[in-house]
């Protein structure tokens, strides 16, 4: 992979994770995770339930319930872990939630405009007024086939599972992140909804935008092609490979991965 992409990381990495350890309360969940994501790449993290996939996503986005006890992570060459969640968002990191949160009484579009303008302010960009924002939002809603009436409903309140996930991708489309971490964006979706969501994500792929898919099932990778596939087990990445690794998993399941020690991943090695 290209070592130099001119993207500030020095080595071309947008996200570099080295030996991250994290715990919730007394439970150590991540036991040394290494990962390098370069601009434009789509990575998939797969693994059995409880392997630490969602914890990794939460740690990268700054969820406070997870205490980082070791290792480091840089985003575009800057220390990621010292940033508040909103600063990570402003830097261009987006987390698509496995369980999008309801905020009663707060309109969907109002919420998103507040978010976009907060991010723009943090970046020293001009805020969008209501009219410009509405035009932008309408255009992006088409991407995931959301009804315009949906904009005035309260954030995620009374949404179906599919609507919630489409809303996450819609938010991603408006916020235009450099790295989108999509945590089980496929869970609870029927085949049609999965198709819509995947199409949305694919449409947002760009040479300067990376995606980290966290998923349990290979099915998602039939719709979104991943450049790299990682298998997590027991709080570590135990195998990494190309898209063909997903096919192998489909045949073998995850049982083999339980109890495996981490390999020294090629990506982490390249960064040393």
């Amino acid at each position: 992979m290209a070592a130099k992409n001119g993207n500030g990381g020095g080595d071309g990495a947008l996200l570099r994770v080295e030996g991250i350890r994290a715990r919730v309360g007394e439970n150590e969940i991540l036991k040394g995770v290494d990962l390098v994501v370069r601009p434009g790449e789509v990575h998939a993290i797969m693994g059995p339930n409880g392997s630490g996939k969602s914890t990794l996503a939460g740690v990268l986005a700054g969820r406070e319930a997870f205490e980082v006890t070791g290792g480091r992570a840089t985003f575009d060459g800057k220390d990621l872990l010292s940033l508040a969640p909103e600063a990570r968002a402003a830097a261009g990191l987006f987390l698509g939630f496995q369980y999008p949160v309801e905020i009663p009484g707060v309109g969907n579009l109002y919420f998103l405009r507040t978010a976009l303008n907060a991010v723009r302010r943090a970046r020293g960009e001009e805020e969008l007024d209501a009219m410009d924002f509405l035009a932008l939002a309408k255009e992006k809603m088409k991407l995931v086939e959301l009804d315009p009436a949906f904009g005035s409903r309260s954030v995620n309140e009374g949404f179906s599972g599919g609507e919630k996930k489409r809303n996450e991708v819609f938010q991603m489309a408006v916020l235009e992140p450099r790295l989108a971490i999509l945590d089980e964006i496929d869970s609870g979706l029927d085949i049609d909804a999965l198709r819509v969501v995947s199409r949305g994500v694919n449409a947002l792929r760009r040479p300067d935008r990376s995606v980290l898919l966290v998923t349990h099932y290979k099915r998602l990778l039939e719709y979104i092609r991943a450049d790299r596939v990682h298998v997590m087990a027991g709080g570590c990445i135990v195998r990494s490979g190309g898209p063909e690794l997903a096919d192998e998993l489909e045949r073998t399941g995850y049982a083999w991965a339980e109890g495996m020690k981490p390999e020294v991943s090629a990506a982490a090695e390249a960064g040393r």
Binding site: E86, V101, F111
Partner: protein
């Protein structure tokens, strides 16, 4: 910093309206006696019927005990240690705003009250009460052409004694309760509104109260009478300067809506809540009640963010058939604030309807109590009530309590009550912050979303102010 720490920091913010204006005052000595009641009445040059009424109230008050049933706690009030009357000294009658004491004007400006040009532009008539006496009344003439009376209570006593005598105490009698009796005995001023038959008052009427003189309990009295088919919307908003000693405020508001009349009464209350340890702050013990006759409607909307203690139950007596009562409330308590608030809907007439929407927000160590009574009298055939009481908790040290009282004496009446309690969750905050919204803005947004059902009932110009106020108070309370 953890979320808990950040919330705490937000919670610790200072009250923004803490200042004192230096003005010469005309005040009576401390304490309460028949002599003081006579002195107040004399200072105000009142007719005999007013003095008699005050004295009856005072004598009745002597027989009463301070109520203790509310879910609030405070040190015993020494009623002999209170100054019952203080008025800014005025050298002469004021013909225009230009003559108003510049100190006063500066104080109003600090509070953001648009008394001068802004006010005219906003189209709001303001009867400004500074301490206890009205100093400026505008728009009187325009309203006068329609026959609408909007003036200070003192002026009403002088200029419309027959109206005052007829309606004063007709909804909240001087015997009603401890604080109402006290108010009747010593009230210094307030507002008076009279809307004649069939007249729709063309502007929002608005009064800002402000407590200024040290150790001065403030006893306002408001009386609004809407004749048959009349309509009026009245706004009340208050802020008070920071004080170390608790200040007692025992106001009375009476609304009379005759057949087919509609009175909309909106309040934004932002008095000094006391510091983070609960020192200082206003004791807000208010009696508000309206009487609605045949097909009349009374709507109370309140946003209560201030005061150390709030004790108030804006109520509706739905006396006439088809009368409608509404109560929309947001009460926010932060730090050590306590609120025991709600409403009473007394259904007497046939097919009377009432709606209660109460939103309680507790942060810091705040304690928030909803207490409401829905009473269906025997005569209330086909009456209906819907009540919804929602509580939002912010942090781990606050409390929310709901005491709904329901009395139904007519089998055809219907009463519905729904209640929820929720917390601002770490998940909600994280979701907002992950999208780039600061914690402070997130809390403000979540709280405003929670209160939306009530805020939308406020007149437009107030709704914006109230939204900011919730955010500010939660900065001082989380959100």
């Amino acid at each position: 910093m953890s979320t808990a720490e950040q919330l705490k920091e937000l919670t610790d913010r200072k009250y923004r309206y803490g200042f004192v204006t230096e003005i010469d005052e005309d005040r009576v000595p401390k304490g309460l006696s028949e002599e003081i009641v006579r002195l107040i009445s004399a200072k105000k040059g009142e007719p005999q019927f007013m003095l008699d009424w005050r004295l009856r109230a005072y004598r009745h008050w002597l027989t009463l005990k301070e109520p203790e049933w509310a879910n609030v706690h405070y040190p015993k009030i020494d009623y002999q240690d209170i100054v019952y009357y203080s008025a800014p000294k005025q050298k002469k009658q004021l013909g225009s705003m230009d003559e108003v004491d510049p100190e006063l004007k500066r104080a109003f400006q600090k509070l953001g009250i648009p008394l001068e040009e802004q006010m005219r532009l906003a189209g709001v008539a303001v009867d400004a009460v500074f301490d206890s006496v009205s100093v400026a009344t505008t728009y009187k003439k325009k309203l006068g052409d329609l026959g609408v009376v909007f003036c200070s209570f003192s002026d009403a006593v002088k200029e419309h004694p027959a109206l005052v005598e007829r309606w004063l105490g007709s909804v909240v009698p001087h015997t009603d309760n401890y604080f109402a009796a006290l108010n009747a005995a010593v009230f210094s001023d307030g507002s008076f509104v009279y809307v004649p038959k069939g007249v729709r008052c063309p502007m929002e009427l608005s009064t800002y109260f402000r407590i200024n003189a040290k150790d001065t309990g403030q006893f306002e009295r408001t009386l609004i009478v809407a004749e048959e088919g009349a309509y009026v919307s009245y706004l009340e908003g208050c802020t008070a300067p920071q004080r170390d000693e608790n200040q007692l405020h025992a106001a009375v508001v009476e609304l009379v809506a005759l057949d087919g009349a509609h009175i909309k009464y909106s309040t934004v209350q932002n008095w000094y809540p006391g510091d983070a340890e609960g020192k200082g702050g206003i004791y807000n013990f208010v009696t508000k009640r309206g009487k609605a006759m045949h097909k009349a409607k009374i709507s109370w909307t309140q946003v209560e963010t201030g005061s150390a203690i709030t004790w108030k139950y804006p109520s509706c007596i739905l006396q006439g058939d088809d009368a409608v009562g509404e109560f929309y409330s947001v009460a926010l308590t932060n730090n050590r604030q306590q609120a025991d608030t709600g409403t009473k809907m007394i259904h007497i007439g046939r097919n009377t309807r009432s709606t209660i929407i109460s939103k309680g927000i507790s942060a810091g160590k705040g304690q928030n109590t909803y207490r409401g009574l829905v009473k269906m009298m025997k005569s209330a055939v086909g009456a209906r009530n819907y009540s919804q009481c929602d509580s939002l908790l912010i942090g781990h040290e606050c409390g929310a309590h709901t005491f709904p009282y329901i009395e139904v004496r007519n089998p055809t009446a219907k009463v519905e009550h729904e209640a929820t309690t929720s917390k601002i969750s770490e998940d909600q905050l994280f979701y907002c912050r992950q999208r780039g919204i600061s914690e402070e803005d997130a809390v403000s947004m979540i709280v405003n979303g929670f209160a939306k059902q009530v805020l939308k009932e406020l007149p437009m110009e107030f709704a914006v102010e109230a939204q900011k106020l919730l955010g500010m108070s939660l900065e001082g309370s989380v959100g």
